[in-house]
């Protein structure tokens, strides 16, 4: 009797913990939604800011975030998948691979602001790209590289060895096996990782603080060497700079809603793909 009682208490405690966590998550989403939806309008989504950030829209920031995200993924995706293929399919098992794997893990753990510093010295100063979209994309690309590599690695390792052996036994070359068998099989896993990293890039602020972002631009960026506005940086700037805190906070709610919507949409798609795939493979 007493034992059952302690189990009831214990499980109740665990349940409370998870309930609080999930509730807070939904309160956050709901809160941003309710406050943000008031300022969202067609004008807000399609116009540039006006009157010292107190009126108009945030279209340049939305477009800027999309450019930065796309650029970063275009840079990191081929490099990351190739690195994962090398590590899983080609590299001899042993000390060197362990070192590489460990460096990648470490790269994933490096604080994002340190990537910002790196971007500043290497892309902005050393290569002379200046504070620009290009510097921002490359910095963000290096930030997500380890995430893409480890997601792709996991997906590749999940492909049964027997499938590779069967393909090789049929006379396919190593590369043919990878291209025709291993990659298609691991595609959903790789896709999940890539989509999750898109969400991550879109929300990152610290790496673009001093490599790409501008608080206010009149229009869209003209070339890869111009500064860009970005949603996450815009939220930060609205809350910490400027002379009209009241109106700026309202706009920040709108930006937060758009950013949250984009990021959660992307993550939901990724989670959905994963669950589908899981139920497919059992």
């Amino acid at each position: 009797m007493k034992k059952d009682f302690s189990q009831t208490i214990g499980f109740f405690f665990l349940f409370c913990c998870i309930l609080v966590t999930i509730l807070l998550l939904f309160i956050i989403i709901y809160f941003v939604f309710v406050r943000g939806v008031k300022v969202i309008s067609w004008e807000f989504l399609t116009q540039a800011p006006r009157a010292g950030m107190t009126a108009g829209g945030v279209a340049p920031a939305i477009v800027g975030t999309m450019y930065l995200t796309l650029g970063a993924i275009m840079f990191a995706l081929p490099l990351g998948i190739a690195a994962a293929i090398y590590l899983c399919e080609y590299s001899p098992k042993g000390f060197a691979v362990n070192i590489i794997r460990m460096s990648i893990n470490n790269l994933a753990g490096v604080p994002s602001v340190v990537f910002g510093l790196f971007g500043l010295t290497v892309f902005v100063k050393f290569f002379g790209f200046g504070v620009s979209m290009l510097s921002g994309c490359l910095t963000l690309g290096i930030l997500v590289l380890p995430l893409i590599i480890s997601a792709a690695q996991e997906a590749l390792l999940a492909v049964p060895q027997s499938m590779r052996e069967a393909s090789l036994a049929l006379g396919a070359t190593h590369w043919q096996t990878i291209k025709k068998i291993v990659l298609p099989t691991s595609l959903p896993g790789i896709l999940t990782g890539v989509i999750l990293s898109i969400g991550r890039v879109a929300g990152e602020t610290a790496p673009i603080l001093f490599t790409a972002a501008a608080f206010y631009l009149r229009g869209y960026p003209k070339s890869i060497f111009s500064e860009v506005m970005a949603l996450p940086y815009h939220i930060y700037a609205l809350m910490t700079e400027g002379a009209h805190p009241q109106q700026q906070t309202a706009i920040a709610y709108g930006c937060a809603l758009i950013l949250l919507f984009l990021v959660l949409l992307v993550s939901t798609v990724a989670i959905f793909i994963r669950q589908k795939q899981r139920s497919y493979y059992g």
Binding site: S6, I18, I28, V113, V114, V122, T205, M239, L259
Partner: protein, 287 residues
């Protein structure tokens, strides 16, 4: 011809694999190059343990001890909140929840991980900060406590998902053995499963803490950014990451201030390196 094409592809793949390790080294080298210059002005000991951070006074005083303490204080607070709750969530998801609920809970935790830190910082600024101010009757709600609470949110998904993996990787036979001996499910969890998964859970906690120490935006927005020696949770503090992010924009390239910010970057890099290596060791000891 086909052989040649494959040869090229394989070399390209090899090059990409090596590029990623190259980046780690390059990042560190560039940080070193810019950061070590500061030690021409201050000794490493004075830099790490100096109590005054006045980078633009004449001469500049570059002691980052208050910033280190700020980071530690916020991290400690976040860990106190997120570690027990995170582990409890992991146990609930891994052991107690029915299959259907489990999938929903896991997805929710993943959504929590997806919320950008700047959004969490923003929400903290408009909700938590005023509450902290009025509850504790403080002159400002921008305190270490507010930062800890918000950062606990960010550490949680990491802790939950890694601790959950650790619980799953405990062999079934352990659990079945305990149950067969007449232990209740609850006894099995805290006498058998948790100890067996302890090294994985420790790794989860470490990686969660690593996430918190490296967090920048939320911390910069809600901890008040006063570079003073912190004495309590109800004071504004400034962390290492926030210092870099807040001051790099104003630092003159090539000045002592600029080099000092890179030196802080080195400190952060070393801390995250140490945390990751240790967590890696814990994770591998398990296998």
């Amino acid at each position: 011809m086909r052989k040649f094409k494959e040869y090229i592809i394989e070399k390209l793949i090899l090059a990409s694999g090596l590029a990623s390790i190259f980046f780690v080294i390059v990042i560190f080298l560039f940080l070193l190059k810019e950061g070590l210059a500061v030690f021409k002005i201050v000794t490493p000991a004075n830099f790490l343990f100096g109590k005054n951070w006045y980078p633009i006074s004449e001469p500049p005083q570059l002691g980052i001890f208050p910033l280190i303490l700020g980071s530690l204080l916020v991290t400690l607070g976040a860990a106190i909140i997120s570690v027990p709750i995170g582990i409890a969530c992991a146990v609930y998801i891994a052991e107690v929840a029915p299959v259907r609920t489990k999938e929903i809970l896991k997805a929710s935790i993943e959504l929590l991980a997806a919320i950008p830190s700047v959004v969490l910082g923003f929400i903290g600024m408009v909700t938590l900060v005023p509450w902290v101010k009025s509850i504790f009757k403080l002159p400002t709600g921008l305190t270490a406590l507010s930062g800890s609470i918000m950062l606990a949110f960010m550490a949680m998904p990491t802790i939950v998902s890694i601790a959950e993996d650790a619980l799953y990787s405990v062999p079934r036979s352990h659990k079945e053995g305990a149950l067969a001996l007449g232990a209740t499910h609850w006894q099995t969890i805290y006498r058998v499963l948790l100890p067996a998964a302890s090294s994985g859970i420790l790794a989860a906690v470490m990686l969660g803490i690593g996430r918190v120490i490296g967090e920048t935006m939320a911390v910069m927005m809600i901890t008040g950014n006063a570079a003073l020696m912190p004495h309590s949770f109800l004071q504004p503090v400034r962390t290492l990451t926030a210092t870099i992010a807040a001051e790099m924009g104003e630092a003159v390239v090539g000045s002592e201030h600029y080099f000092a910010l890179f030196a802080i970057g080195i400190v952060l890099f070393v801390i995250s390196f140490a945390i990751n290596i240790t967590a890696d060791l814990f994770l591998h000891r398990k296998r």
